[in-house]
Point group: D2
C-alpha cells in the first residue's frame, strides 16, 4: 500500500459539512495518478505512458464508513489487488489521519489495459505489470 | 423506473473528451434528487423531508460500459430495488438517448434511513417507504 | 439576451447551503455552450465550430449580489456586449426565477478568437460575428 | 505574498488538456483557506473564526494569461491588497513553478466581513485586520 495526505478543497464539502459522496472517486483518481507517477518512474515506463497510462476504468465501488467533516485531516491509501491478463484492481482506504486512522471510506476500481490507437483492450504490458506488482 | 434527460457540463468531460468517471456519481445524485422531489410531493411527505430526506448513502457502485463523448445526449434512469427495514437500493442506467439508448454506465447506491437529530440509523418511515414503492 | 433555466446539482452547494462561488463560472460556461449551440445552428457555422468554437476565455468576472440557497430555482441570462476585431464580451445574470428574478449574481467573460491549428489569436470570423450579433 | 504548491486533480483539466477556467476560482479559494489557517493561528483568532472566518466573497476576477497543461507543476501566490472598513481584496497569481514561474493566471477577490448571526455586513474585526496585515 502507498499512502498520501489528501488535500481537500472547500468545494468538496456538502451542505452538511461532509465530503460529498462523488468526491471520493476523485480522491481515488488522485491516488491512482500519484502512485502511478511514483512506481512508473522507477520502472522503465515510457514518458508517454507515465503521463497517460494505457488504461480505462471499468468499475468503481465505494463504501462510506464514517463521515469526514470539514477540518478533519485525511489520507488515502492505495494498493493493487489481483492482476489478471488484461485487468487488475486498485483498492483504497480513506482515513482520518489525525484520529488514529479512523476509516472514512474504502473502495475498489477495476482497470483494463487499453490500446487507444487500436481502440480495444489488450493484455497488460509486462513493464506495467512489473510496476504494479511493486506497489 | 423514472427517466430524466441529463444536462451535462463542459467541465464534466476529461482530457479524452469523455465524462470523467467520478461525475457519474454526481449524475446518480442528481437523479435521486429529481426523483425524490417527484415521488415525495405526491406522497404526503413533509416539506423538510422533501427538501432534505433523512437518508445517508452507504455504498455506491458504477460499471462503465461505453464512453460518453462530448456532444452525446444522455439520459439517466433510476429505480428502486429491494427495500429492507432500514435501507434500500437505487439502481441507475445512463444511456445515450439519441443512439437507441446505448448503455453508457449502470450502477447502484445503497441508502440507509438516518435520524439526524438522534445521530443514528432508523427504520425507513412508512410514508417514505410508500413513496419509494411508487417509483 | 437569451435565457435558460439552470439545473443545479447538490454538489454545487457549500457547507452554508449556498452555491459555491466558483460554480458561477461553470454556470456561465454552461450558458455559453447552450447559447452558442442555439445561435450557431441558425448561422451556417460548420459542425466542428458549433461543437467546439475557436475561442479562448481571456478574462472572467463575477459579482455576487445575493445568496442562492439550495431549493431556490435559478435561471441564467446571457448576452453579447461589445464585439471588437479579435474579441468580445459575454455578460451574464443569474436570477432567482421564482422570486421575481431577484438578482443572485452577474458577470462578464472576455473571449478571443483563436486559431488552434496556428496557435495564435485571429480576427473573429465573419459568420461567428454574425451569429454573435444575433444574440 | 504567501505561496503554496497547487495539487491539481485530473478532473480539473478540460477536453483540451488545460485547467478549466472555473477551477481557478477553486484554486483561489484553496489559497484563501491555507493562508487564513496560517496567519490566523499566529494571531489570537478564535478557533471558530479560524475554521470558518466571518467573511463573504463579494466579487471575483480572473485573467487567464497562459495555459496550464496537464503535467505542468503549479503554485499559487496570495496577498492582501487594500484593507478598507468592511472589506478587503486578496490578489492571486498562479504560476508554472518549474518554468521560471511563467504566469498562468492572476486574479482578485473582494471579501466583506459578515456577521452571520445578525445577517449583515460588519466592520472587519481588529484581530482579523491585524492577521490580514501580516500576510
Amino acid at each position: 500500500m502507498l499512502r498520501y495526505p489528501l488535500l481537500t478543497r472547500y468545494s468538496d464539502y456538502d451542505t452538511k459539512g461532509h465530503v460529498n459522496n462523488a468526491v471520493y472517486l476523485t480522491y481515488f483518481e488522485w491516488a491512482r495518478v500519484q502512485s502511478w507517477q511514483q512506481v512508473a518512474r522507477r520502472g522503465g515506463i515510457s514518458e508517454v505512458d507515465i503521463a497517460d497510462p494505457p488504461l480505462i476504468v471499468a468499475e468503481a465501488r465505494v463504501k462510506y464508513v464514517s463521515p469526514a467533516n470539514i477540518g478533519v485531516a485525511l489520507a488515502v491509501e492505495i494498493g493493487v489487488k489481483e492482476i489478471r491478463t488484461k485487468g487488475f484492481s486498485f483498492v483504497y482506504r480513506i482515513v482520518a489521519s489525525e484520529e488514529d486512522d479512523r476509516l472514512v471510506a474504502e473502495g475498489e476500481t477495476v482497470q483494463v489495459a487499453y490500446d487507444y490507437s487500436a481502440g480495444r483492450t489488450m493484455p497488460i504490458p509486462p513493464e506495467m505489470r512489473a510496476a504494479l506488482e511493486g506497489m
